[in-house]
């Protein structure tokens, strides 16, 4: 069983979560989706995923959450060595400029999606971020070529001296 790469969605409004997860279903065959309604819950989910020997490739996180807000959650996660490289995307209509700058500086925020999002926009961000993740983490690119940016993954393979056996 190869290591699974998860997409984690953190969003407290259930209808919004439902819509987000629905838009992500085309990725689910390759990247199982997990969800959480608060930062607290998200932390438990993250631990479970890593406990199972799997990892998180991408986190889509709302900013306004009960308890700890999204930016602070991402910063905390970023400080953890294991989750340092997971791609972090803020999906929100409400984070102010300051919060966003804070997130970019301290959590190495990888992208910002403003609500309401479109399917195309979400797809392109998810593809870009997960492709980055696969390349940075040196995962087997062939596993994900069909769903991610195949040209970039092929280019990555070209540069990394794949050999014939």
């Amino acid at each position: 069983m190869e290591k699974q790469i998860y997409i984690l969605v953190v969003e407290d409004e259930l209808e919004v979560m439902d819509a987000l997860v629905n838009d992500l279903q085309s990725f689910e065959t390759y990247f199982p989706v997990e969800t959480a309604n608060s930062s607290e819950e998200a932390k438990k989910v993250v631990e479970q995923i890593y406990y199972g020997g799997n990892e998180i490739g991408l986190i889509l996180c709302d900013h306004v959450l009960p308890g700890q807000n999204g930016v602070d959650f991402l910063i905390e996660l970023h400080a953890d060595v294991l989750k340092h490289d997971s791609k972090k995307v803020l999906v929100t209509g409400q984070a102010g400029l300051e919060d966003t700058i804070h997130a970019i500086n301290s959590a190495d925020l990888d992208h910002y999606i403003a609500k309401p999002w479109t399917k195309e926009q979400l797809d392109s961000v998810v593809v870009k971020q997960l492709t980055d993740y696969v390349i940075e983490e040196k995962l087997n690119p062939m596993r994900f070529m069909a769903i991610l940016d195949a040209v970039r993954l092929a280019e990555y393979m070209r540069e990394h001296k794949l050999s014939d056996y």
């Binding site: 062939m142 393979m157 001296k161 794949l162 050999s163 014939d164 056996y165």
Partner: protein
């Protein structure tokens, strides 16, 4: 380390295979032959079921031979009548055998070519005369792919060509079979193109390595004279086959590759090194300098000038060299312990004609390498073929070189399944094609390949070799 059920079975079977011959007493097989048989079992099972990476098994094979079969090993410290143990250096030496050095040169050249975008720029230039008709675009892509994969690894070539064709595919209608044709033409051409030169793909190295142990040297240029006509015919067939099976609907296709040749000092050095090396390789028969020696030219030249750096060297696919060396090493003791001869001798070969034998070896090679690594297939089959030819059991007309070629070339004709070769796996993983498409076209290619190998082995190769 988590082993799958298949891997677990492989591990257990391999170990049993290693141990059991120690407790058997097989008539006509020396004591050392029993040990070699155990090692052969282990290697074959490990290479086929892969409880460990195949390059790891190769090193294990070298190590086990040193431990159990060399003069410095535990068992055969003395020379006896039936078995003259080799020095351990014979086994270790395979890691630096001429074919390995030849490959090293090829790796360094290919690595530098990728680094300075030579492969991509050549593609751009070579594709431009093919216009925008889908039929000719496919032909152009196949020719370029075959050409590049003759000097670079098939896999790296496929990956590069994918970056060229994926944008084209994205612009074609979803229901146009041209998409499938495009996605299949690259791995097919890469697999076929690898046959063209000694450094094109590792099975060629196994063939050349095995022959050189028999004292037969095949110059670079001569290999090309033997193999290239076959490559051209099979490539053209593949072109026609793919266009017939997946008839394009689109009337024109646009290839837009932009870029310019890198004109930095390092790039120019590389172009010169590349040109000269290839030229000297092809003309080996004229000047007589061995291709393995020529292979050192780019290694020396490019590292001295800093075109290839320490980081680049670290990233070379060393495991391929180990794999080939392991195969050559296994061949050494199979021969010196009389194991190969015994295996060969246990079958009544003379009842088959040369044609049948060639056909059998070719078909077995294609079938095996559809499921196994091409290199492993060649490694396991060639020692048998070599013994068969040298022992003279198979009778007249069973030429050592030809049968080795048959196996080496047939191993590259396997392209039915995604697991057959890495280029197939890459094409499959883009999600553009389904296994059925690949199996259908790959099966036909296999049949045609076997037929062509037979024809060449009967008529063309003897002509050249004599």
């Amino acid at each position: 380390m988590n082993l799958s059920r298949k891997q677990l079975v492989g591990l257990v079977l391999g170990l049993i295979g290693l141990v059991v011959p120690f407790f058997l007493s097989i008539e006509g097989l020396s004591q050392a032959g029993h040990v070699a048989l155990g090692i052969f079992f282990l290697a074959a099972v490990f290479w086929m079921l892969e409880p460990f990476p195949i390059y790891a098994t190769s090193v294990l094979v070298i190590f086990l031979q040193i431990l159990l079969l060399s003069k410095e090993g535990f068992i055969f410290k003395e020379i006896t009548e039936v078995y003259t143990p080799d020095s351990y250096t014979a086994f270790i030496g395979t890691l630096a055998s001429p074919i390995i050095i030849l490959f090293l040169g090829g790796f360094v050249l290919a690595d530098a070519a990728v680094k300075y975008n030579l492969d991509r720029n050549l593609t751009r230039i070579l594709l431009s005369p093919f216009g925008n008709k889908p039929q000719f675009i496919v032909l152009g892509l196949m020719i370029v792919t075959a050409l590049l994969s003759a000097f670079m690894s098939n896999t790296a070539t496929t990956a590069m060509m994918m970056t060229v064709i994926l944008p084209i595919i994205a612009r074609i209608d979803v229901d146009d079979p041209l998409r499938i044709g495009l996605a299949l033409c690259i791995p097919f051409a890469a697999n076929i193109g690898g046959i063209a030169t000694p450094i094109g793909t590792p099975p060629n190295a196994v063939v050349i390595g095995a022959l050189s142990q028999q004292g037969i040297n095949i110059p670079f240029g001569e290999w090309m004279i033997l193999a290239t006509p076959l490559v051209v015919v099979v490539l053209l067939f593949a072109w026609i086959l793919l266009l017939t099976m997946f008839k394009p609907k689109a009337n024109s296709v646009k290839v837009d590759m932009s870029g310019a040749f890198n004109t930095s000092k390092n790039a120019i050095i590389l172009y010169i090194a590349f040109g000269f090396t290839v030229l000297f390789w092809i003309t080996e028969s004229f000047h007589g300098v061995k291709s393995a020696i020529i292979a050192l030219i780019p290694v020396v030249f490019l590292t001295l000038t800093g075109v290839v750096t320490k980081e680049d060297i670290r990233k070379l696919p060393w495991e391929v060299l180990w794999l080939v060396a392991g195969g050559i090493s296994l061949g050494i003791s199979m021969k010196s312990t009389g194991l190969a001869e015994w295996i060969v001798g246990s079958i009544e070969w003379s009842s088959f004609g040369a044609i049948t034998l060639i056909l059998v070896f070719s078909i077995v090679a294609v079938m095996m390498s559809n499921f196994l690594s091409n290199t492993v297939t060649a490694t396991l089959l060639i020692p048998l073929a070599v013994s068969l030819a040298t022992s003279g059991i198979a009778g007249e007309g069973f030429n050592l070189i030809i049968v080795s070629l048959v196996i080496g070339v047939s191993a590259s004709m396997a392209m039915m399944l995604p697991i057959s070769t890495p280029p197939n796996a890459i094409a499959m993983s883009t999600g553009t094609i389904q296994t059925a498409h690949m199996a259908k076209a790959g099966f036909t290619m296999g049949i045609f390949g076997v037929l062509m190998v037979l024809l060449y082995a009967l008529f063309y190769w003897p002509l050249i070799l004599n």
